[in-house]
């Protein structure tokens, strides 16, 4: 066995062992109001997380996770029933993971209200965790919970408990959309259920 072959084998073995370490990331964020989330968003949907897949990018310097979301209510930039993909920084590939404090997180099967913007070749949650509201049932009502994540939210207005009825949030989104763009693009308007 040549030295080169041995080197490659060693590296392969090591890759199997070590390409599985997680990492953490921390963030300091500025708060975004609903209007600001809307202003930046190219897609606004209510949907259910149907799958997630992590992989390396940037020549092996970072891990991202592509989250697939089935749209149940299209507010902007999507169609009901469509499966859209939103990317989050971090994830796990083998024995290497990468976590971003302040980044949005998703669980399979959960329902979210998502504000997404395009950066590079992918869509991301606007304002990291701020653009992903987790939807829960409380007393028979669907509530949207703003996940502040591990982010440093600058400003007291951005840190109050934010659990509001989903419909109330969507009303605010519609108003902000109207202010941003009086005539919503065809095929992008909300499909009320």
């Amino acid at each position: 066995m040549t030295l080169r072959v041995r080197f490659v084998l060693a590296c392969t073995l090591l890759a199997q062992v070590l390409l599985k370490s997680p990492s953490l990331e921390a963030s300091v964020l500025l708060p975004l109001s609903t209007a600001q989330l809307v202003a930046r968003a190219e897609r606004i949907v209510v949907g259910t997380v149907v799958g997630q897949e992590s992989h390396w990018v940037d020549g092996g310097s970072a891990i991202v996770t592509d989250v697939r979301i089935r749209v149940t209510r299209a507010v902007l930039g999507a169609q009901e029933g469509e499966i859209i993909t939103v990317r989050r920084l971090g994830g796990t590939v083998g024995e290497i993971g990468m976590r971003v404090f302040g980044e949005a997180s998703f669980r399979d099967g959960e329902e979210v209200l998502l504000f997404a913007e395009r950066r590079g070749g992918a869509y991301y949650s606007v304002g990291m965790t701020q653009g992903t509201l987790h939807i829960t049932q409380q007393g028979g009502r669907r509530m949207a919970q703003m996940a502040l994540g591990g982010a440093e939210i600058v400003g007291r207005s951005g840190v109050a408990p934010v659990v509001r009825p989903l419909e109330e949030v969507l009303d605010e989104v519609r108003r902000a959309l109207a202010a941003r763009r009086p005539e919503p693009a065809q095929g992008r308007s909300e499909q009320t259920r």
């Binding site: 030295l3 590296c11 073995l13 090591l14 890759a15 062992v17 070590l18 599985k20 370490s21 997680p22 990492s23 953490l24 990331e25 921390a26 963030s27 300091v28 964020l29 975004l32 990018v57 940037d58 020549g59 092996g60 310097s61 970072a62 991202v64 920084l89 796990t92 024995e95 290497i96 993971g97 990468m98 971003v100 404090f101 302040g102 980044e103 949005a104 997180s105 950066r119 590079g120 991301y124 304002g127 990291m128 965790t129 701020q130 987790h134 703003m146 996940a147 502040l148 994540g149 591990g150 982010a151 440093e152 939210i153 600058v154 007291r156 951005g158 840190v159 109050a160 408990p161 934010v162």
Partner: protein, 324 residues
Amino acid sequence: MRPLQSFSGLLALVGLIAHGGAAQAWVRSRTNGCHPVYWSQSCIYLQPDGELTKDLPADQVQRIIQRSIAQWQDRIGGSFLRLIYVPPDGPREARFDRQPTIKFRTGRWCRPGDCQGDRESCYDASAAAITTVFFVNKPDNEQEDGLILDADIELNSVHNQFYDADQLPPRGDGRTLTDLENTLVHELGHLMGLEHTCRSAGDGMPDCTVDHLGQRPPLCSTVLAGMDRDPRLREIAETTMFATAQPRETKKRTPEADDVAAIVAIYPAARDPRSCERPRPRDQCGGGGCALAPHGRTAAAAPLLLLGAILLCMRQRRWSGRTC
């Protein structure tokens, strides 16, 4: 030996008593296997990229970085961990290379892609800084799980106008005015393995994450809502590792007793591994093979670190071959 699982708890208890039952709430970052992350050597060499933010004179930026390091170093005398500043000497990138780096992003708030088709990954404009800590994740291996291999801090100088709050604020240019030292001191806490002292829904913090007393960290919203009437909650909100900040805030510049207790408990002087080697420059990995040298490590982690070094060398060989 793995640093301080039970011993840290003992120290924490002593610290708690010493502080008269104060609301200490420090929290360690944990792996998915629930083991806390930790550095296994006595020191961390930190070096900025050669290109600093242009918001401040380069020498002032360097002074602020050193001051931020000193804010921790001057308070953690009971700890063996040392943050060692290395002046910039050329281009450095924030990536998994075992060389802790402070990187100002000035042109684009993005991690660059490579020449093999990967595009750059751009960060959120509202994020002022991002700290990355790479560590071994072997949930079934208590000795190795959580061993930190690398850590980098990236600062968003594209959307933030970093300044020194000790001086008059500069003339605004549309970017957010952010005190550099306040940001750095907090991020250094993450770099050493600390988690926020409060949690939020969907923040990715493993469900098993607890504070040093074994309690689930309080919700950030709970702390903020109750801090004005509950001194214990106020104390948590005042920690450098608290998860929220105010505009132009400076209070995170000075680690509080809780933050200091965390580092002293995790890395107590009595358990000093007495190993502190500076990471090798990446160009030592060229040629016909990897010129490896084990870095500071514990005996238990040595084989893994050696393997890690080989892997990194392999990657660096690939990077060094870039032509784009």
